[in-house]
């Protein structure tokens, strides 16, 4: 039944996948509807039958990427079942890998930069997804026995966010190259002051 090729996926899925990739690489305002449909092997009418507007497509893309990121968290649990501290270190490692491999930052953060209109419909989605992301990291830190879990989670969040932006400004050889050292140092420091 299924034949495995990407080309055989339903147009809507192909569009969503292609749009995520192109938005990520070229930015939201840097890519047009025509370019997306062409790369997805379909056409503009089909896109507008599945998505109300470009803004709607943007929002669906953000939700889809957040969903993929969610799958990564499940992997932490399956790879280190119950060991929350190991999962936290896995988070650091995965983050560092992204910094080295990707070159472009977080889709949500990039979207927030590009969509400067304060009433843009995507902004509330960005905020919602970013807050969920933060909650997960706070919970992980707390479950790992860190005393000031919120503060460590927020510090790590900002550090990663900054690193992903820095990569885009000055490349992987800049300050972000020290990300692992910084993050691990922080974890050690916070474990030291932990008051279970």
């Amino acid at each position: 039944m299924e034949d495995g090729t990407v080309e055989r996926a339903r147009p809507r899925d192909r569009i969503l996948e292609t749009a995520q990739d192109m938005f990520h690489k070229h930015g939201i305002k840097g890519v047009g509807i025509d370019a997306i449909t062409e790369a997805a092997g379909t056409n503009k009418m089909t896109l507008y039958r599945h998505f109300d507007s470009k803004d709607d497509l943007i929002i669906q893309c953000l939700r889809a990427t957040a969903c993929k990121a969610g799958a990564m968290w499940e992997k932490f649990e399956t790879e280190h079942p119950g060991d929350k501290l190991a999962q936290l270190h896995a988070w650091v490692r995965v983050a560092a890998d992204m910094l080295r491999a990707d070159g472009r930052g977080c889709d949500m953060a990039n979207a927030a930069v590009e969509l400067s209109e304060t009433d843009h419909p995507a902004r509330r989605v960005i905020k919602e997804l970013k807050e969920a992301q933060r909650d997960r990291l706070v919970t992980l830190c707390r479950d790992a026995g860190i005393g000031q879990a919120e503060l460590l989670a927020d510090t790590l969040s900002l550090l990663l966010e900054g690193a992903r932006v820095s990569v885009q400004s000055v490349g992987t050889e800049g300050p972000s190259a020290q990300f692992v050292r910084m993050a691990e140092g922080l974890i050690v420091s916070f474990r030291g002051t932990a008051a279970g």
Copy 2:
């Protein structure tokens, strides 16, 4: 001779000032040449007599804002002459003030996000200016007697970069609200391990 009003500045200066402001608020791709010239009280031809292209204007704007930031560093020296540690704390305070007051991030970082083309002429300027900015902070940390000056400077850089992006995603009440606590904690921590 001079009559003080902004309107009396030379067209080139008005354009540069207006463009900086509008690029900062609405993003580079979110603002057109016509909007800039109209807000600057001039016209398109005059703009193109002073700037080769929009890309050229972007670059000149980035240099101008970097120049303004440079003036802030001189202020640190005049307000705390010789006291490098006080200057470092002043840097933290000024950064925190920006986070609360601004809402939009660093112009260079935002530009790097928006201008995703790897060969865009502004990218080398962004890198150059960001590296100069980093060097200044490293020097300040070193002169303040911090042992691992580079590592502290890079950590503070990423923390601020991340905070300025986070403000755009989730607002001032998010993780960036703890910026001062994080930064001051780091400085204390690095002073503790300092080997003068």
